[in-house]
Subunit: 352 residues, 2 copies
DNA sequence: CTGAAAGCGCTAACAG
DNA sequence: CTGTTAGCGCTTTCAG
């Protein structure tokens, strides 16, 4: 404790970028203490306006940027949000699905607008627990998850651990995390109603009814059938997950078996566009023989062949809402689940 | 220095998450010093295998995660890579373009595989200088930029500042950063050659020839025309950027002016699929009257109407190569530019 | 209004 | 093999 300042400094072995400017440097140059610099840079009113401006300008001209690790360490918090994209080997829907990708873009925008960084990671749905790491380790102040899948319980557990968590998906009973999602029940209903109005009577439903979102859409579908006086036998559910290839196979098989139907209700635009060629192959024209409705309204749904009727999800708004909800949670406030309205976009694929 | 341990601890005002486990905690529980814990957790051979395992298991069972800020601060480095998506108001191509989005996915995978985090940000192309902030502030160990646009000089400047930087784009003369990109010249050539073989003679080129990548594709296009004995008048260049709406307008105008052509070479699949309806509107059938070739081979190019012939960019590989190159730079080694082979995928849109 | 000093959670000499 | 100790770059009492 009172040893003479001998020897070489310990210093880490790390290469320590040499020219890296730090507060001490600009303090020295400005002829003030680091405390003052810190205060000035943080806009504290405890420094005279003059010094504050002088220091701010100096820092800017020197291109100084604060060391975020040090700041975070000292403040014991940070401004980065972890966005995790679970990938589920079973349903095969992963980051490459255009819808999820556009959600990422939307989140990037919303987060940037509010001055936050976005840390993106893909996590195997089977080990979603690890998602909390970025929070536990102080890397992120909270987590936004794109997709709920079958992970309801795991998500609840995360929330119980106190992880600020917002999930894109359906609102479920006994849910202890915050969900933000489209109105899946409504989406399912409006797609079906539209089809019924176009005279369709025998339906094929494409999706993964074991996930909450698809299940809700299916329920909406069935409600609408019932209201039209159609029994459950009016709909054939094909549990193909979000796997386009599988959708093709299954629909093909149905056709080969001679099963007849005049409408396809799909849980994603990718699924919907994927089966169109199969229908054609079996001599069914879209929309003449079979009307097709997708879900999401990804950008090129309008360029599909034929242009796809679909249920539009409010992607841009979704990002904003999820971020808002997360920040509420982070602030310790309650964030009720949010359900966003969806909208039927009618194009050719259903106009028979 | 020898004051009695008086007074309340200063402590930050920050709410400091209470239960947050730290090394000291597990050290106490294990009955060792934090140094030992640190060593054990970092797999140092300086601790006995026994203690190492004991500590590792304890930490795991307690769900302890190391504080990354502290570690980074001490080590003076970190494991996160900043991925920036410049958005150019002029060309209008931004994060929502499926190609860029899939690139993001590819990078996420490659980065995860190598144990790195991915920090995503969108930056206005006009102020690309700010991209270095995440590096300067010690938040990221380097930067991967998706898209080169018109920023060659700014990128050079970043590189000069010593920022480890890898850019998806074309290799340019006097380039001081590392670029990774598809073979744009080759791509332009193979698209054109194919079209010429299908009997096309009057071309429309859609893109932004002022960006290096598109310029190279155009050059390849023109080379191929020349080799086929066609003069430069055989091609009409429509500088529409990456704006689908604008592409529609411009192509429509051409048609109204009575300009005739039998092939469209587009710089993205989005552009290519966008103009098909316009052609039809003016009585041109694709591919019968006009053959169309896109670029990128985004996933649903095969679902387009008609299925789109296009130049496939090696997205998955792109991610891996960019990450590799960046890590080379970070390690202080030289990373030569890389050009990745592209491939023509022939589908219906060009088969006349 | 400004400076001195303590300490955020971790790693790495350096000594035992 | 393990503990002690000195910081990494910053913010914030507390004292002037």
């Amino acid at each position: 404790m009172s040893l003479p300042p001998t020897g070489p400094e310990p210093g880490p072995a790390a290469p320590a970028r040499p020219g890296r400017l730090q507060m001490a440097d600009i303090a020295r140059i400005a002829g003030v203490s680091v405390a003052t610099v810190s205060r000035a840079l943080n806009g504290s009113t405890e420094v005279s306006a003059a010094t504050r401006q002088r220091i701010t300008e100096l820092a800017r001209s020197l291109n100084y940027t604060i060391n975020v690790s040090a700041k975070n360490l000292r403040l014991r918090h940070n401004r980065t949000v972890a966005v995790v994209i679970p990938y589920d080997r079973q349903t095969r829907l992963h980051v490459s699905d255009p819808f999820f990708l556009s959600m990422l873009g939307s989140l990037a925008d919303a987060l940037t607008d509010r001055g936050h960084d976005m840390l993106v990671s893909r996590i195997d749905a089977d080990q979603l627990e690890t998602a909390s790491q970025s929070y536990d380790s102080g890397t992120a102040l909270g987590i936004i998850m794109i997709g709920q899948w079958h992970s309801h319980e795991q998500l609840n557990r995360l929330a119980d651990q106190g992880v600020p968590l917002v999930v894109w998906g359906a609102q479920l009973p006994q849910q202890r995390y915050c969900s933000v999602g489209g109105d899946n029940l409504g989406g399912g209903r409006m797609a079906t109603r539209h089809l019924i109005e176009r005279g369709c009577r025998r339906f094929v439903f494409l999706g993964d009814p074991t996930t909450p979102e698809s299940a809700l859409r299916l329920r909406g579908h069935q409600q609408e059938l019932a209201e039209a006086g159609l029994g459950p036998e009016a709909c054939r559910v094909l549990a193909v997950g979000f796997d386009a290839a599988r959708a093709r196979t299954e629909v093909g098989r149905l056709l080969e078996q001679g099963v007849d139907f005049d409408a396809v209700v799909a849980c994603s635009d990718v699924l919907a566009t994927a089966v169109v060629p199969v229908l054609r192959l079996h001599g069914r024209e879209v929309p003449r023989d079979v009307a097709v409705v997708g879900y999401d309204d990804i950008e090129w749904a309008s360029h599909a062949d034929p242009p796809l009727t679909t249920v539009r999800q409010p992607v841009a708004r979704a990002g904003v809402e999820m971020v808002e909800a997360l920040l509420e949670r982070v602030a310790g406030r309650d964030a009720p689940p949010r359900t966003l309205p969806v909208e039927l976009v009618v194009r050719q694929s259903s106009m028979r």
